[in-house]
């Protein structure tokens, strides 16, 4: 799970004074807000790529506030995907495992498993140049998931995709989460993505987080209705979502 308490930061013109929120183990949360309100910065702070001025971050029960990005047990998919231009798709899926010095057999097996999960088996020997938007997104997702992180952080993963690919990605993201049980935080400003995927909405506005939680729709095995009360001010008032399914 993700627990953020009293997070404060200021980068350039925007900042927040003290926000807190929780995402429960196995939940799919959407972090919404206007462009430029600091959503990406929050993800970068969760990743450890930026240091906040104050606040604590607890991931999967471990305080990671002072840990390096490498030690946090996260999978991160940035908005531009940032694939490694010199590597093949296979190298991408194996990257985190090579760094962790897994043995060759185990890496091969895991790469195969990921390729099947994401439907990119036929792309393994290709390089990122020439992959379509949807394919790149799958590779970035596979790269992030390879080492079984407890947390998956997605920065506008569907923003550059055409409608049909986006539909496919909804299904893929749902099935990935069902099969891996990874706690997901998905940054977006798109209401439809939220309605299709999320069981919790975090609304970032004026440096405050409003949080609302829903019963689970497409995914099973997620959080329970009896979870802690909604955190942050304003309860569900700032959230836009669907009713319980």
């Amino acid at each position: 799970m993700i627990e953020v308490s009293e997070l404060g930061f200021r980068f350039g013109v925007f900042g927040v004074a003290g926000i807190s929120f929780q995402v429960h183990r196995g939940a799919y949360a959407a972090l919404m807000g206007r462009t430029g309100c600091g959503k990406t910065t929050i993800l970068e702070i969760l990743c450890g790529l930026r240091r906040p001025a104050r606040g604590r971050i607890v991931l999967m029960g471990r305080d990671v506030t002072d840990l390096k990005p490498a030690e946090r047990g996260i999978g991160y998919v940035p908005q531009d995907r940032a694939l490694f231009s010199t590597m093949t798709v296979r190298d991408h899926l194996a990257f985190a495992l090579v760094v962790r010095k897994w043995d060759r057999k185990a890496i091969e097996w895991r790469v195969g498993e990921l390729a099947e999960l994401l439907g990119i088996g036929q792309l393994l020997d290709r390089k990122p140049h020439g992959l379509s938007g949807g394919e790149s997104q799958r590779v970035a997702l596979g790269r992030a998931l390879a080492s079984h992180p407890g947390i998956l952080l997605l920065d506008e993963p569907l923003s550059a995709l055409d409608d049909q690919t986006r539909e496919e990605m909804y299904g893929l993201l749902k099935s990935v989460q069902r099969q891996t049980g990874v706690t997901t935080l998905h940054v977006t400003h798109n209401r439809f993505e939220v309605e299709n995927l999320a069981d919790q909405i975090l609304h970032l506005e004026n440096g405050q987080i409003d949080s609302a939680r829903f019963g689970r729709g497409g995914c099973s095995g997620g959080p329970h209705e009896s979870d802690n009360p909604i955190l942050g001010p304003g309860t569900a008032s700032g959230a836009h979502g669907r009713g319980d399914d």
């Binding site: 004074a17 450890g48 001025a53 390096k68 940035p78 990257f95 790269r143």
Partner: protein
């Protein structure tokens, strides 16, 4: 408020003239410079004869100069890349590394002041470094050589000379070439790393890499073309270096004579034929290296992390 009265003529569908004059204009201006370069080379080639070239190649002094030029330029290129890659990376990722200098502070105005101070400090440091790295590029090469000579007159320089003779010896040739060429390589590497998305390295960090691993596994492979360009540039720069070498190394035949020195020595004794022949040799060497490097760069595949 009424609509302004738009004249009839302005309401006609817009028609534009041909683009040809513009393109032809560009072509004429551009080709003037290209022609100048080609004309110079052709004039050189026309001035010399195979006999002159063979005579130049036959002279032991010139053969020594060719050898020293090729060896010293190659060593300079390797050295320049060796220094330019870390420097270029450091400069390009200064904000990234600045993160490590975060000043712990409480929220509120204290936090903003600390951030501001850190920003000012980093920016000043970067501008200073930038200015220092520009010195070899803007300084007259002759002055670079003179400065090296003076440097080796200082007590520290003298101490080095005592153990390892530099001035007026072969190492001075390489040092003179390196002191100028490296600045160009640093420029190239910095632009190269600026053009590589730092996001990739950040993702590598989240995937379990240390900064060093992210550099070796992600940034460096993506920079390989830039490295090749920086090396070539340094090599070409070193091959043509003359001023600093004459001042710092002297122009002793069979000792510190490189090809530009040969051209100058031959000219000074009125032997224009030999000077032109040697010049053409340098042109050919430079073209050859450019072709080889371009060809190598085109298919310089990087082995993957798993194979």
């Amino acid at each position: 408020m009424g609509e302004p009265n738009i004249p009839r003529a302005m309401q006609k569908p817009r028609q534009v003239g041909s683009d040809a004059p513009f393109v032809v204009g560009l072509g004429i201006i551009g080709s003037a410079y290209v022609l100048l370069i080609v004309a110079m080379i052709v004039a050189d080639a026309a001035f010399t004869t195979p006999g002159h070239l063979l005579a130049a190649l036959d002279s032991p002094q010139i053969r020594y100069a060719i050898k020293l030029s090729l060896i010293s330029s190659s060593m300079t290129a390797v050295l320049s890349v060796w220094f330019a890659v870390p420097l270029g990376y450091l400069m390009s990722r200064s904000r990234f590394f600045g993160q490590g200098l975060t000043i712990e502070s409480s929220a509120g105005s204290g936090m903003t002041t600390a951030w501001w101070l850190k920003g000012v400090f980093l920016r000043t440091l970067k501008h200073l470094l930038d200015a220092i790295l520009d010195i070899p590029i803007v300084l007259p090469p002759l002055v670079m050589g003179l400065s090296l000579l003076i440097l080796f007159r200082t007590p520290v320089g003298q101490a080095i000379e005592g153990v390892f003779p530099v001035t007026y010896a072969v190492p001075s040739v390489i040092l003179a070439q390196f002191s100028v060429a490296c600045a160009f390589a640093v420029r190239t590497m910095r632009v190269t790393f600026d053009q590589i998305n730092p996001r990739s390295e950040q993702v590598a960090l989240t995937l379990g890499c240390t900064r060093s691993q992210a550099f070796w596994m992600v940034a460096l492979p993506e920079a390989r073309r830039g490295i090749l360009t920086a090396g070539t540039l340094a090599w070409a720069r070193a091959l043509g270096e003359f001023g600093p070498i004459v001042v710092f190394s002297g122009a002793t035949r069979m000792r510190t004579e490189v090809l530009p020195t040969t051209v100058w020595l031959e000219l000074s004794v009125g032997s224009i034929e030999a000077a032109v022949a040697v010049s053409l040799l340098m042109v050919m060497a430079a073209v050859l290296v450019l072709i080889v490097v371009r060809a190598a760069g085109a298919d310089a595949g990087m082995p993957g992390v798993v194979q």
